[in-house]
């Protein structure tokens, strides 16, 4: 008995250590970027900054915010995230509300139409040609309209709407309200959790999307979001151009293209790191609802 107790304890100790190690591996690379972004450029080039900034400075950040290219890209990202999330959440909820009514005329056809799109797509090129034909190349709308709807999210909404007691709607119906008014005034106000869940999924998706900017923005470079900007800096190793774009006043030994890259990464990531721990509840809910068989 005693021996078994000891064995269990040994397992617990190893398990806890393993978890600590996993957390460390997950977080440390990000921490590395943070400390380097607060260090002086020339020190970073020498290397060896692992735990704490060396010659702490904020110049990298002020350089980031003085760079017009980064500044614009950041603005585009905020704008597309806000507009894209709000429109897609409301639009998807509206469609899903109609679809959640089992007596809807043609519901079966609509559902099949939607489910097919979850498992089959036309592929990159026909989609690219469509965007081109719609005149959305080099347009801000390419971030918004193609992201307006998604059937997976619609199913999450429908599952939620089906569980709202009908009595809520019935009293309004007796008062002569139409379905759209009921959706706006009765359904939306009680759907806080599911709205938050989908808004978060879409918001993070919008914020992190870099590919749309790479492929559909070809000439109007000022329209690229910050993630696409970073992609270009990283993949084309053209970080030199970040420094070249700096006003002479900030070009000094404290700032190098590497540290500016790090600082841009931190600025890009910061909003997400701030919100995600508080929203854990909603994400878990979202995954669970979504995993219920459609």
């Amino acid at each position: 008995m005693k021996k078994r107790l000891k064995k269990v304890k040994l397992f617990d100790v190893i398990n806890v250590l393993l978890m600590v190690a996993i957390c460390f591996l997950m977080i440390y690379p990000i921490w590395y970027v943070v400390v380097n972004s607060f260090s002086e450029g020339t020190e970073v080039l020498k290397g060896g900054i692992y735990w704490w900034p060396r010659n702490f400075c904020l110049e990298n950040y002020s350089a980031v915010f003085k760079n017009k290219e980064i500044y614009t890209a950041f603005g585009i990202t905020v704008l597309k995230t806000v507009v894209g999330t709000v429109t897609s959440v409301l639009f998807t909820a509206m469609v899903a509300y109609g679809l959640s009514k089992s007596y809807l005329v043609g519901r079966k056809i609509f559902m099949v139409m939607g489910i097919v799109t979850m498992f089959f797509s036309g592929g990159l090129i026909p989609y690219f040609l469509l965007i081109k034909q719609l005149g959305m190349l080099d347009s801000f709308w390419v971030y918004i309209i193609p992201a307006l709807f998604g059937f997976y999210n619609a199913i999450i909404f429908m599952t939620f709407f089906k569980n709202i007691p009908v009595e809520l709607e019935e009293s309004a119906k007796i008062d002569g309200a139409n379905d759209f008014v009921i959706f706006l005034k009765i359904i939306l106000p009680v759907s806080g959790p599911v709205l938050a869940t989908i808004a978060l999924f879409n918001g993070v998706g919008q914020w992190n999307d870099y590919f749309t900017g790479v492929i559909y923005i070809t000439n109007e470079q000022w329209l690229i979001p910050i993630q696409t900007f970073l992609y270009k800096v990283i993949s084309e190793s053209s970080s030199a151009r970040i420094v070249a774009n700096m006003p002479a006043s900030v070009r000094n030994s404290m700032v190098t293209s590497t540290t500016i890259k790090y600082a841009t990464m931190v600025v890009t990531t910061f909003p997400i790191v701030c919100v995600y721990p508080f929203l854990q509840k909603y994400f878990v809910q979202g995954i669970m609802v979504g995993s219920v068989k459609g």
Partner: protein, 306 residues
């Protein structure tokens, strides 16, 4: 018949507001999902960018034949399947093991902290994570410094410039990003297991490992099955968002997956018909794999997607 028709009209009229809410969504599906499917016809045509869709010359299976005969066909398929199967083997099982181990942690607070920290990388984009990987894996990066300090290496290796490391890098970095996130769904499934099952097992003298093996695993096997089906359905995909960031000219022979190839041929070279044919081939195979996985798990496990 007439009666039924007028009934239908009556119902449509009654539901006009609901229908007006649903139809914009259906129009969106038609434009952004079904129109590209209709556009797939250019895979069987000689499409030039000036052509109106549907008016191009039909060429049958020419582009498919070209793909199968392409000297890069073997390379592309090998990379796609290799990376995907490794991800299925390690990337799919790691979150299950992580969830089971995390579930054994007794201290709730510690458990929650571990969980929250572990899925931070999921919320960062592949550009950020890829950027970190590129810096770390360079010949003067942190990984090389650590390996040299430990005496494993004599001098730094530029890992991302060597094709032989690419598959491993792509699998490990995907685990980094998705381990904690992937575990959430299993942890939720575990917390939904009836506690009386464990109590009964404890009375019968089952130890911790036996409880895990005979209760926890069978109870979450339905969840595992559904996620497995979805994963099999994405074997032809191999996560383009990730590969696109980590790909470079030097590791191309190991990172040239189907999606990458389609991108290069279609967007890069402007061979729209050829690229569409490859994309269509990929979509069809994916669908077939999904259906097969669905059937097999239905037989073995009793869980299925449809």
């Amino acid at each position: 018949m007439k009666q039924r028709n007028s009934d239908l009209w009556k119902r449509i009229k009654q539901q006009r507001f609901l229908l007006m809410m649903v139809l914009p969504g259906m129009v969106w599906l038609l434009v952004f999902c079904y129109f590209p499917m209709y556009g797939c016809q250019i895979a069987f045509q000689n499409y030039r960018i000036t052509d109106v869709l549907g008016s191009s010359e039909w060429v049958g299976l020419k582009w498919f034949a070209k793909f199968f005969k392409d000297p890069l066909f073997m390379q592309v398929m090998k990379n796609t399947l290799g990376i995907s199967l490794l991800k299925l083997l390690f990337g799919f099982t790691a979150p299950i093991i992580f969830a089971l181990l995390l579930n054994e942690i007794r201290n709730i607070k510690f458990k929650r902290v571990v969980q929250t920290l572990s899925y931070l990388p999921h919320f960062l984009s592949w550009v950020i994570l890829g950027g970190i990987m590129i810096t770390w894996l360079s010949d003067t990066g942190v990984i090389n410094k650590a390996l040299i300090a430990m005496g494993v290496l004599e001098e730094g290796i530029s890992f991302l410039a060597k094709p032989e490391y690419f598959w491993g890098i792509s699998v490990i970095s995907e685990i980094w990003k998705e381990l904690g996130w992937g575990a959430i769904i299993y942890l939720a499934a575990i917390s939904g297991i009836d506690p009386s099952l464990y109590e009964a097992a404890e009375i019968d003298g089952a130890n911790r490992f036996q409880r895990l093996w005979y209760i926890t695993l069978p109870e979450i096997s339905g969840t595992i099955a559904i996620l497995f089906i979805l994963q099999v359905g994405s074997i032809m995909g191999s996560n383009f968002d990730q590969i696109f960031v980590l790909h470079n000219a030097l590791n191309d022979s190991a990172s040239n997956v189907v999606d990458m190839f389609v991108y290069k041929i279609g967007i890069g070279n402007g061979s729209y018909s050829y690229a569409t044919a490859i994309g269509l081939f990929r979509s069809v195979i994916s669908l077939v794999l999904l259906l097969i996985a669905n059937k097999v798990t239905e037989k073995l496990e009793g869980s299925s997607l449809f």
